[in-house]
Symmetry: C2
Subunit: 325 residues, 2 copies
């Protein structure tokens, strides 16, 4: 009746921006991400007899989150367990600031519930369920480069490659503010108002096909080029939405400029920006410190996070405090 798991965040190289099914969280196009070692969520779940509602703590603060309860319902239904749950989640990074906290959050919750319910589902099934909590959580079940595949109503993550070939990601944290418009809301706005939306779906499909080929060939520059371009296409979709979705801040443009200059100097690295102001830089892990030192000329060291590729979810031991506390 108790379980604990860790899941890592992921940054999409081919973006997820729009749902074909709001209820089931099915995407309008496939996506592909890199799981990040440096950013993760640890989640502890315990089904309890003496609760009259689910109780959810995030970073030790009690939350009022119906999404979490609806997500636990999926596991209650599958397992037949009829109790409320105590959930304690901890992110090692700022929540809802474009660092994909919902991806690691729902993946870790799925992993902990998998143990607590004793269901012992396989990763593919777990990924499919994690998706119901947050689309990108489907990808955080796995490590390395992960594709989110959808065939009809089957929709789940799948590892394409372990990314163990000198791949790194640098996150430049420019804003820890919560977004004015959530990704969930933004996607809806774009899908229904951008005149370019259907073309975005088409282009994403070919971008996905091409990046998979580049990854399997270990062609870093082609992979990076597709990554950066796909991110700009998503932002073009956001800017063409009504109301305009403009997540960038002035420093976002400064980092874009820096990445361009680094490439001119022969340091091959590529940017990708989610629905937020932060900039993620895909690079050679062996060059990450060099790139960081360039960025540190302008930004605080603490706002620059270097990550190697992360692994998939794993079960954690429950501490004595959690067991008896």
């Amino acid at each position: 009746m108790k379980g604990k798991a860790r899941a890592h965040s992921n940054i999409a190289l081919i973006k997820y921006w729009g749902k074909s099914d709001e209820e089931l969280n099915l995407p309008t196009s496939g996506s592909l991400s890199l799981t990040l070692d440096a950013l993760y969520t640890d989640t502890y779940v315990s089904f309890e007899d003496n609760l009259n509602d689910d109780v959810f703590y995030l970073n030790n603060v009690l939350q009022n989150n119906t999404r979490v309860s609806r997500f636990i319902d999926i596991f209650r239904k599958l397992s037949g367990i009829n109790k409320f749950a105590l959930v304690k989640s901890t992110n090692n990074f700022p929540t809802a600031s474009g660092l994909a906290s919902s991806a690691s959050g729902f993946a870790a919750l799925a992993g902990a519930l998998n143990v607590a319910t004793g269901l012992n589902l396989g990763k593919k099934e777990l990924s499919s369920i994690a998706r119901r909590g947050s689309g990108s959580a489907a990808r955080s079940i796995y490590g390395g480069f992960v594709e989110w595949i959808t065939k009809g109503k089957e929709s789940y993550g799948k590892m394409l490659d372990d990314a163990n070939w000198d791949i790194g990601m640098i996150i430049v944290v420019l804003s820890q503010k919560e977004k004015a418009i959530s990704s969930r809301e933004g996607m809806k706005i774009s899908k229904s108002t951008s005149p370019f939306y259907s073309k975005w779906v088409e282009t994403s499909k070919s971008d996905l096909k091409n990046i998979k080929e580049a990854i399997l060939k270990r062609d870093f520059e082609v992979m990076g080029d597709i990554t950066e371009r796909n991110s700009f296409l998503m932002h073009a979709i956001m800017i063409s939405s009504n109301p305009v979705l403009l997540y960038w801040e002035p420093d976002t443009l400064n980092v874009i400029q820096m990445v361009k200059e680094l490439r001119k100097d022969g340091i091959m690295c590529y940017l990708t920006i989610d629905a937020g102001a932060n900039v993620n830089i895909l690079c050679r892990l062996s060059q990450a410190n060099l790139i960081k030192s360039h960025l540190c000329k302008t930004f605080n060291e603490e706002s620059i996070i270097i990550s190697k590729p992360g692994s998939g979810i794993k079960t954690l031991n429950i501490s004595k405090d959690e067991l008896y506390g």
Copy 2:
């Protein structure tokens, strides 16, 4: 054999971004602009016996500009004049910084050549010729709100409305640098690489139809809303181009934010950005000083230009210095 004319710059509310014919400067979609009183070019032309090439001074600096010579060729062909020309042009604002210097430049040159050749062409014909120098120059022949109409190979400006109903424009000059990629080059890149380009052409057509209705109804808010949205759509096209055309600078985002805040405070004004970092704010002329005072909290007073609607080209008297100098 001598002529002098003044033409004002214009800022497009429905943007021109792409040619269907490179040679003839025919646009892929119609556009509509406001002519600006505050920004203009004065151009003096004199056909001379003792020159063995055209000589072109811009702001008193000798230029090497084949576009100007090719443009004069059109007038030489029409008039039968077989001499080289001395051209002296003066902008009262920075050249090639997104302030549409080529629009007022080629319109003023057309006006001066019209006098110097004695052709005495009408405005419609003059607009059609000015277009060959720079597309947007077709609009600077006229004052107020001007549509650029294309029917087959006929392509010329036409005044829709004199804009004499409390209309103003504020130009926030953020950069006086020349663009890294000219509009001419950028348009080519977008047309051939943006996956959204054909949709942009479609959307522009309906934006143009709708803004014309709003202008004729004097519905300022609808006009402003279409203006701002059309500009963001053009920038979405730029951002979706390969290479990415990103003309914004960090302060561009700051002004975008300020315009949003002004509207929240009930001061209705709308932004439009050309291929450059500067932001133009369409407003009520009666509120322009109020808006300027808000902007002055962040920006230098000298970088903020208020303009009322401008008039069409006019012939200027030739000074004694020019006549005998």
